[in-house]
Amino acid sequence: MAATSATTATAKATAGTAAGPRRRRGRLGVQNAAGWLFSTPFLVLFATFMAFPILATLAMSFTDFGLRDVTDPFSAEFIGFENYTKLSEDEKFLKALFNTGYFVVVGVPLTVGAGLFAAVLLNSGVARMRTFFRVGFYAPVVTSIVAVAVVWRFVLDPGEGLIAGIAAEAGLTAPDFLGSEALAMPSLIVMAVWRNLGTAMVLFLAGLQAIPADVREAARIDGAGAWQEFRRITVPLLRPTMLYVSVMTSIAFLNVFEEPFVMTNGGPDDSTLTVSLDMYREGFNFFHMGYASAMAYVLFTVILAVTLLQLRLLKDKTR
């Protein structure tokens, strides 16, 4: 396949040269114009709803844009990097940054691992009722966070909750999961893993099904056991999927907002305050828009760095 298309490309290029440079440019010009024409609707929408807000936020992050400036935006004062210096000394924000890091460092490997495990299990002949389980694992992904919160609060409630009930049967006392500084974040991580592993699983399933059967067959004929097959065939061939899943999960987890917002509101004592939640409060409760914009850019920079790091770490090995 690759060889054929390369040949065709060379042939076309040669033909182009033969017909003269002038004609080629003309044809490409028409193509270009058509291309621009067809992309215009997208470009207009992108410029209005993505590029402009993104740039406006960047500009705003260098101002003291606040409540008063809402009625007169140009009264906001330019204050240079003041918001950023203030952020570097803001204990609350640093704690939020730490909490977010904690959430990502623990949550992402768990989500990727659990997703991979579920996918391998549901793709193999071992599991019965595969469709049922696939739906089961995917259901949390499409369920509204509010419904999820109701269920999890019931599970975690120290008084009448599911876990408390089971513990009481066994003569134990369940801890106050969401009320304890040490346990609130792990509880949210478990919930987030449960909510997101379905997405990872579906992507891994697609990746698994793209592995040609003859490769597996060849390995088995060569005497590979199940573990060897997994390690030598499945994992290497799944690497591109793994890269995609971990990058997307990391981005999602760095932005974590809904879990702490509906379950703990950042508490107890800010132990579940994340960057997005802090940003939301600064922006919409207090209308410190300049400050919140600076937070958005710090978060953006962190996400960019983490993504580049992952691309480097995981991509090099695929070669």
């Binding site: 402009f52 993104i54 809402v70 009625t71 008084g159 932005n255 107890p268 940003m279 958005a296």
Partner: protein
């Protein structure tokens, strides 16, 4: 989908902020004024459940003034602040709104509110504290509509079981009752005081006021490191140090459930709780009471509630005034109590049969006379959030009250104008 939705969420702050910029460029035409007797539509924003009842009142009003068509839009309490600010930015405000009394100061500072005509609405007709919350630099910007004040709710049946026959009259008795509930009646906690989270200041503020403290001193500077403030924080902390109140504060916590089960046999809250308890747990009838707040130096509660404001940009100010007049007439105030169980801000309304007949209201009326509002501050939301944090520090972290008071003082200094 989950992943995508979250990625998009980052840009939300950005987009909305930018949207505010864009929108403020257009809109905001004030135009001429429509006279009260002309045909017109008056747009009003009501909050939460009250918005629905307000529509009914608007229809009643329409019978008296057929030329004015009142159109009420209910807005959820949780989004009202954000919506109002966006509307100010966009120049898309209604003519009138019901506004939480603590928010009036903020919108006054945005020049969004029309000053109150004090010839029509007289200060002397309202509870002094309710009126005071609407005043900035000597000018009133909102007319008090209904008031709420915090009182003590407690379980009489469990108190009897614990050997206590009357409501606690002071802090010492309040402590003793909480301990007795737990030790003698076997309840999980002795009381419920909100340990942290949005609005924790509402439970703590009566402690500060009763200790003789104030939020601001005479010069308008925070007075939160005063001995009274330290005393109020220490008193609050006592309930956590002794395990008499839960430290857990999940969003959406409903104290009524724990009150009914006996887990939290005592709490401090507003008049709406009377309805909530009666509706959700009719079986509790006769097993609980509302009492004035236990006193320290005084028994001083915090008064909140809602005001009626007219926006400066409205073209229907005359009609808005008529509607405000209607809503604050003693007869309508009493009607409103019948509808929503909200307490009238107009003192004369308390003599209407609707209220004199109602049981258990005397405690609120009594408490209202000694209640104080929060000062009208443009940065009240932030100010309140700092108090919430201070409450969390002493309640959940067990930090030293004096140290916390000093921190709170410093944290609020930049938030007064």
């Amino acid at each position: 989908m989950q992943l995508i939705r979250r990625t998009v969420a980052v840009t939300v702050t950005a987009a909305t902020a930018a949207g505010a910029l864009l929108l403020s460029a257009c809109g905001g035409d004030s135009g001429g004024q429509t006279a009260a007797d002309e045909k017109q539509t008056l747009t009003v924003w009501g909050m939460g459940e009250e918005g629905k009842h307000l529509q009914e009142l608007g229809e009643e009003f329409g019978k008296k003034y057929p030329n004015i068509d009142v159109k009420v839009t209910p807005v959820g309490w949780d989004v009202v602040h954000q919506k109002l600010v966006s509307a100010v930015a966009a120049g898309e405000l209604p003519d009138m709104a019901q506004m939480g009394s603590t928010m009036v100061g903020e919108f006054t500072s945005l020049d969004a509110l029309e000053p109150v005509d004090t010839k029509t609405f007289r200060k002397a007709d309202f509870f002094p504290a309710a009126w005071a919350g609407n005043v900035t630099d000597g000018t009133a910007y909102g007319v008090p509509w209904y008031v709420d004040t915090r009182v003590l709710y407690y379980r009489t049946d469990l108190a009897a079981e614990a050997g206590v026959g009357k409501a606690p009259a002071n802090w010492r008795e309040q402590r003793a009752l909480a301990a007795a509930y737990k030790d003698k009646a076997g309840t999980e906690w002795g009381t419920y005081h909100q340990p942290s989270g949005i609005g924790a200041w509402q439970t703590w503020l009566p402690f500060l006021y009763s200790a003789g403290g104030k939020l601001l001193d005479k010069d308008g500077e925070p007075a939160l490191d005063s001995p009274e403030s330290v005393r109020a924080l220490s008193e609050y902390a006592h309930y956590y140090d002794k395990g008499l109140s839960t430290k857990s504060s999940p969003p959406g916590y409903d104290v009524v459930k724990d009150f009914a089960s006996g887990k939290a046999p005592m709490f401090v809250s507003g008049p709406w709780m009377v309805n909530n308890i009666q509706d959700q747990h009719p079986g509790l009838k006769g097993k609980w009471k509302a009492a004035p707040l236990p006193a320290d130096k005084t028994s001083t509660s915090f008064v909140g509630g809602s005001s009626l404001v007219t926006f400066a940009d409205s073209g229907h100010k005359a009609a808005a005034k008529k509607f405000t007049e209607y809503l604050t007439s003693p007869a309508e105030q009493a009607d409103w109590y019948g509808m929503a169980r909200s307490l009238p801000a107009v003192e004369a309304a308390w003599d209407e049969p609707e209220l004199t007949r109602a049981e258990g209201l005397d405690v609120f009326e009594k408490q209202l006379r000694t209640s104080e509002p929060v000062p009208a501050l443009s940065k009240w939301e932030e100010f309140a959030a700092k108090i919430d944090e201070a409450v969390a520090r002493v309640a959940q972290k067990g930090e030293d009250p004096a140290k916390t008071a000093a921190w709170l003082q410093k944290a609020t200094e930049s938030l007064v104008d």
